[in-house]
């Protein structure tokens, strides 16, 4: 039997019998010093002039540093105060048994997702997602707008924070109710655009384990061909609620994704530490979260985006390390500073996908406007990202090509990140009844595309 899952009972047992460790000690006495050690031992250095490095030995050193780190640190279960630790042989066994490809979705809407290589010409798997809350009445039109994007291989729905006039609160009955409604409406939206079998990632509305479990139902809710997330607690931690989800998803039989976002500026420190922890998260994701795929969104503590120079380097080096040393499958989740219908957001989206795809990632596009404003996301930002990402693969772009383009793109938006424009919300950008973008946004898109082509940015068509 292929992994995942890799010996579920071992994880549950170690979460209760591993070495005792208080959380504060785990953060400051284990993770931080070990991370500093491996950065030094493996001589990892961020180069601001090369956000997309072409140095294979750097990628390998980073993988080795992450393996070394994870073997020493492991994962802390914050409920039991126990560290879940693995031997090198166990990690190799899990990695060695990982198949490296799955078929997501069903019927004619199904798509294969695989691991990718550096500078791979294979088209990336494209997940499209608003990654934000929306008004209840916008849920179906917004979902349909994303679902009908032609390059979408899978879609993740917006998040509900109200249901039938009631606010949804995590851990409350309204969360169960909202999560069930979310799953039902998302299925309906997929059928209405003629893609009933498309891979759906749900249920973002369900933060708690109970609400996630409530939405598992092949008839009206989450199917076996869909995907669900087991997140992590920052950094390299897990808890019983998350492990509950892991056990449920695997016994139910759906696809499991590990959701991981190391924070630059937090415990991981700068770019070097953030990337190494990001790679370690992928190892944790396979063994602890027991994931078929990982969704990776390192982000900036202050700006809550990942299109800064440092974070593009983090994304690039993480994917290069994974591509050269494993067959793990990972989607790269973009977070922009600017909001919809601004020239800046389209440049950020292009930058994120270019870096991700040339470095070996698949795509998950894209959270915008610093991921904090309800209704602020549209498929147009995601469209830009995936058209560029697929273009980079098709046109056989190299890391050197992309590095040069990124340096130019950064010149255009980098200094605007702290006060990035909020842009317009979904209602202002789309005809809600027809699920179509406004003329204003279409024109902006066309003009931005022309400008980006002048800078050498590739498009699939």
């Amino acid at each position: 039997m292929v992994t995942p899952p890799w010996r579920i009972n071992e994880i549950l047992d170690r979460a209760e019998t591993g070495p005792v460790c208080l959380e504060k000690d785990f953060d400051l006495k284990i993770l931080v010093p070990e991370l500093r050690r491996v950065i030094k031992d493996y001589d990892i250095q961020f180069d601001p002039l090369t956000p997309v490095p072409s140095d294979n030995s750097l990628a390998d050193s980073m993988w080795n540093a992450a393996m070394d780190l994870y073997l020493e640190v492991g994962t802390l279960c914050t409920d039991t105060h126990r560290r879940i630790i693995f031997t090198e042989d166990e990690i190799k066994e899990a990695l060695g048994n990982f198949p490296g490809k799955f078929t997501f979705g069903y019927g004619c809407d199904s798509r294969e997702i695989t691991n990718r290589q550096i500078e791979d010409t294979k088209r990336p798997f494209c997940m499209l997602s608003p990654d934000i809350t929306c008004d209840e009445d916008l849920f179906v039109p917004m979902s349909m707008a994303y679902l009908q994007e032609p390059l979408a291989d899978g879609v993740c729905a917006p998040i509900l924070d109200e249901i039938e006039g009631m606010p949804i609160r995590s851990g409350y009955p309204t969360e169960v109710k909202g999560s069930v409604a979310h799953a039902m409406m998302f299925r309906e939206a997929a059928r209405r655009v003629g893609r009933p079998g498309i891979f759906l990632k749900s249920v973002g509305t369900a933060e708690s384990d109970a609400a996630q479990i409530a939405a598992s139902n092949p008839e009206w809710g989450e199917r076996l061909t869909d995907g669900r997330f087991v997140a992590s607690v920052t950094e390299l931690k897990i808890n019983n609620s998350l492990l509950n989800k892991m056990v449920h998803f695997h016994t139910y039989g759906c696809f499991v994704g590990a959701l991981t976002g190391p924070i630059l500026g937090g415990y991981t420190g700068g770019a070097e530490g953030t990337a190494i922890v990001g790679i370690a998260y992928h190892i944790q994701g396979l063994l602890v979260n027991q994931a078929h795929f990982q969704n990776y969104f390192p982000f900036h503590l202050k700006h809550t985006c990942n299109t800064t120079r440092e974070l593009l380097w983090v994304i690039s080096t993480t994917y290069q390390a994974l591509a050269r040393n494993s067959n793990l499958i990972s989607t790269s989740n973009g977070f922009t500073a600017a909001g919809p219908c601004t020239p800046m957001v389209l440049k950020e989206a292009a930058a994120h996908s270019l870096v991700s795809v040339v470095s070996g990632g698949n795509l998950w596009e894209i959270a915008v406007a610093k991921n904090k404003h309800k209704n602020y996301a549209t498929p147009m930002e995601a469209r830009m990202a995936v058209e560029v990402g697929c273009g980079a693969a098709k046109e056989k772009y190299s890391r050197e090509d992309v590095n040069e383009i990124i340096l130019n793109l950064l010149k255009m938006y980098e200094d605007k990140i702290p006060d990035a424009p909020l842009g317009k919300n979904f209602r202002e950008c789309y005809d809600i009844r027809k699920c179509k973008p406004s003329t204003e946004y279409m024109n902006l898109y066309k003009n931005s595309k022309k400008e980006l082509i002048d800078y050498g940015v590739p498009f699939i068509y």
Partner: protein, 220 residues
């Protein structure tokens, strides 16, 4: 060593979070009969302010900030113990703050930074941790006689719990007893106004200034 060089060494030991070194220098300063308040006001306070500014500019990161804050806290404890023993009036905290990540939310980094920034700004902070039931904020605030309730939320799906705390305070007729401040990545000034919180800070680093402004301005 001269007084200036001792002050400089203490500043450096805080910045480089060398706890033992900082403790030794502090004891040396006390032996030399230097006013503990002068050490707190002229060295430790400004040093932590500088450290906080560096963190805000991302010149240093969370482990360095936490390390420096720990040294500052331990050193200040030595100095205030000495003040108590000498029967000198020691500085009172600016106020008491109940702090936690709201119900349903397991994220703590932002809250941890807020704790440091509040402590170095002179507040006594009672950290309730994460996933804190709404009523617990109120019960603890009453128990310790808190001035401020500070609510952190990192998820769009848990922001509602910030509102719930305020609604509970209002329903219990206790809203006027506390200043309520909120923060966290998905929150905004608009959300603060919508739920009727007294203050919001975009970055965790701004929490100290916000709390000071609100408590000094007696907004409540």
């Amino acid at each position: 060593m001269t007084l200036e060089s001792l002050f400089e060494a203490l500043k450096r030991s805080v910045e480089e979070f060398k706890l033992e070194e900082a403790k030794n220098i502090t004891k040396e300063l006390l032996k030399a009969k230097v006013d503990p308040l002068k050490v707190i006001n002229d060295v430790l306070g400004p040093t932590m302010e500088e450290v906080g500014e560096k963190f805000d500019k991302m010149e240093i990161f969370l482990p360095e900030l936490m390390g420096a804050a720990e040294v500052m806290k331990e050193t200040t404890a030595i100095l205030t113990t000495h003040l108590k023993e000498s029967a000198i009036e020691h500085p009172k905290p600016k106020g008491k703050v109940i702090l936690g990540t709201v119900h349903g939310d397991i994220h703590e980094i932002g809250k941890d930074i807020v704790k440091i920034m509040l402590e170095v700004s002179g507040f006594e902070v009672f950290d309730l941790g994460r996933d804190v039931p709404s009523i617990q904020f109120i019960e603890r605030a009453e128990e310790v006689g808190a001035d401020i309730i500070a609510l952190s939320a990192l998820m769009t799906t848990t922001m509602g719990s910030q509102k719930e705390v305020i609604e509970l305070l209002e329903a219990l007729g206790k809203r006027e007893n506390f200043i309520v401040i909120i923060g966290g990545a998905p929150t905004s000034e608009t959300w603060q106004k919508e739920i009727g919180a007294d203050g919001w800070t975009e970055t965790a680093g701004g929490a100290g200034k916000l709390a000071t402004k609100l408590i000094e301005g007696k907004v409540k």
